[in-house]
């Protein structure tokens, strides 16, 4: 399934060697653990101990690798690393990013290393009719969730390395570029035709909104991609789909049925009118409900394309993770959700 460079023992050995080169000191790597979360990048947690000019150091760290045969391969570590680095010290809670490399010599895959932040990642998938959070926790998290999103969208990316994440994109072209990029992925991955997705593409092209501004867009902003500890959001994670574009794209993603089931709370956190109201207040960006609906439909289309990609990856035998085939099983549900969203039935 994966190259031998990605098995546990080899990862620990290569990590120690990479860190030795970065720190100029012998580094002891211990407690290496592979996390099951995520279907694309591979995530390990570990502890590193070394000695620098201040004395002995011990850090809990995260290694994220883009596997050479993974879903979105070939991967690039720079966008995630650049986003974390740029947002360090901003109002967006992010793990501190230490190192990254696009080279394949250490692990046979691009990777970056960042701080392991305290907290758990609550998941958006709960049994129908059940609440994901107790009311008080939900309200506390909702406010922080919207505030962090607003801070991402307010962030001044011009003049930072993040400029390279969307050269030439402007308010008029933001949606068009995203549609084209995901249409291309569908063409690359589909191993049979999907008339409903074809129709969805036409609809999206005909209804694309003009962005209120060009912002940093997280691309996968939802419950499941933040860490929470004692009612506090400690880190926004999973910046794999980060790009420059329409900030309302993230808002549409937050509102998707896939991340709330039948709950009235978007991402199990906040009701739609309140979300719009708090977001507008905190970001200063006006919310167009029609644009959010567009991005909700587009987000569901993206998710459907990801499911097709997962099934393709498994069918080709590139990645033998059975979870990819399991994603593919649920494609009909997503395709119906795209249509329901377009028709305002969500």
């Amino acid at each position: 399934m994966e190259s031998s460079a990605l098995d546990g023992e080899a990862v620990a050995k290569n990590l120690a060697e990479f860190l030795r080169r970065q720190t100029g000191s012998e580094v002891a790597v211990s407690g290496l653990r592979r996390y099951t979360v995520g279907f694309s990048w591979i995530t390990y947690g570990f502890e590193a101990a070394w000695r620098d000019s201040t004395g002995p150091r011990r850090e809990n760290l995260i290694l994220r690798l883009g596997p050479p045969k993974g879903l979105f391969a070939p991967y690039h570590a720079f966008p995630q690393f650049a986003a974390l680095k740029a947002l360090e010290g901003s109002a967006v809670p992010v793990p501190r990013a230490y190192w990254y490399s696009e080279e394949l010599d250490a692990f046979g895959a691009p990777f970056f290393i960042c701080e392991k932040v305290k907290g758990e990642a609550p998941l958006p998938w709960v049994a129908e009719g059940r609440e994901a959070f107790p009311a008080a926790t939900r309200e506390a998290l909702a406010e922080q969730f919207v505030a962090a999103l607003a801070a991402i969208h307010r962030f001044e990316w011009r003049g930072t390395p993040l400029e390279t994440l969307g050269r030439g994109v402007d308010e008029a072209s933001a949606a068009t570029r995203e549609i084209a990029s995901w249409e291309k992925l569908l063409e690359r991955w589909a191993f049979r035709p999907y008339p409903m997705l074809e129709w969805a593409i036409s609809w999206l092209k005909a209804h694309r909104p003009v962005a209120p501004r060009v912002s940093l867009v997280h691309g996968d902003y939802r419950t499941g991609n933040f860490l929470e500890s004692e009612g506090r959001i400690t880190a926004i994670l999973d910046w794999e789909l980060v790009h420059l574009g329409d900030p309302l794209e993230d808002l549409g993603w937050v509102c998707m049925r896939s991340f709330r089931g039948r709950s009235p709370y978007m991402c199990h956190l906040i009701e739609r009118p309140r979300l719009y109201e708090r977001y507008e207040k905190l970001s200063g960006i006006p919310v167009s409900p029609a644009a959010v609906t567009f991005y909700e439909a587009f987000g569901t289309f993206k998710l459907a394309v990801i499911h097709v990609g997962a099934a393709r990856c498994f069918e080709d035998g590139r990645f033998k993770d059975l979870r990819l085939a399991a994603l593919g099983v649920h494609l009909p549900r997503l395709i119906l959700q795209i249509e329901a969203t377009i028709e305002g039935k969500t």
């Binding site: 995520g38 998938w125 409903m196 649920h330 009909p332």
Partner: protein, 161 residues
């Protein structure tokens, strides 16, 4: 289902054999897993996708092809040509019907693209009528698929517990 039946069988067998069984410490649980593995290896050459739903799909697609022909009669530019090889063997298998369904879906995609590109040249509302007819047929299929689909275990899959 999105993946092929053969690949699903091979994938489940491989996962059990190389990733699950070696990690099971309890002998009794391991012997049950070997039982499951044995069953899967013997089921694989004996099963195929259910023929009935596939044949229903193709019958509905062919009815739709006839409707599209009426809706696009004498259209300029001409609508894409429907597949001509739509005859099935007297006792078809899923392996015969599945490629036919996909060919017809490919044709429906081409008609959707054509209708979209020529919206302004077609009589008022005609492109929308074509789209609605195709969506209706596809929706019936997707809803039937959904009825057969167990609720997702995304939480368990993500956490491994």
């Amino acid at each position: 289902m999105t993946n092929s039946l053969e690949r699903i069988f091979d994938g489940v067998i491989d996962a059990l054999q190389s990733r699950v069984i070696p990690k099971i410490q309890d002998e009794s649980a391991r012997s049950q897993a070997y039982g499951a593995l044995d069953m899967l290896r013997n089921l694989k050459p004996r099963v195929e996708w259910a023929l009935g739903p596939l044949q229903d799909d193709v019958a509905q697609q062919l009815a739709l092809v006839a409707r599209i022909a009426a809706l696009t009669d004498r259209a300029v530019p001409a609508a894409p040509a429907a597949p001509s090889d739509t005859a099935l063997p007297p006792r078809p298998t899923a392996a015969d019907v599945e490629p036919m369904r996909d060919r017809l879906d490919q044709y429906l995609c081409e008609v959707l693209r054509w209708a979209d590109e020529n919206r302004g040249r077609l009589p008022d509302g005609r492109a929308e009528e074509i789209e609605a007819a195709i969506r209706d047929q596809q929706r019936v299929r997707l809803r039937r698929e959904l009825k057969l689909t167990a609720p997702p275990l995304f939480g368990e899959i993500s956490r491994g517990q």
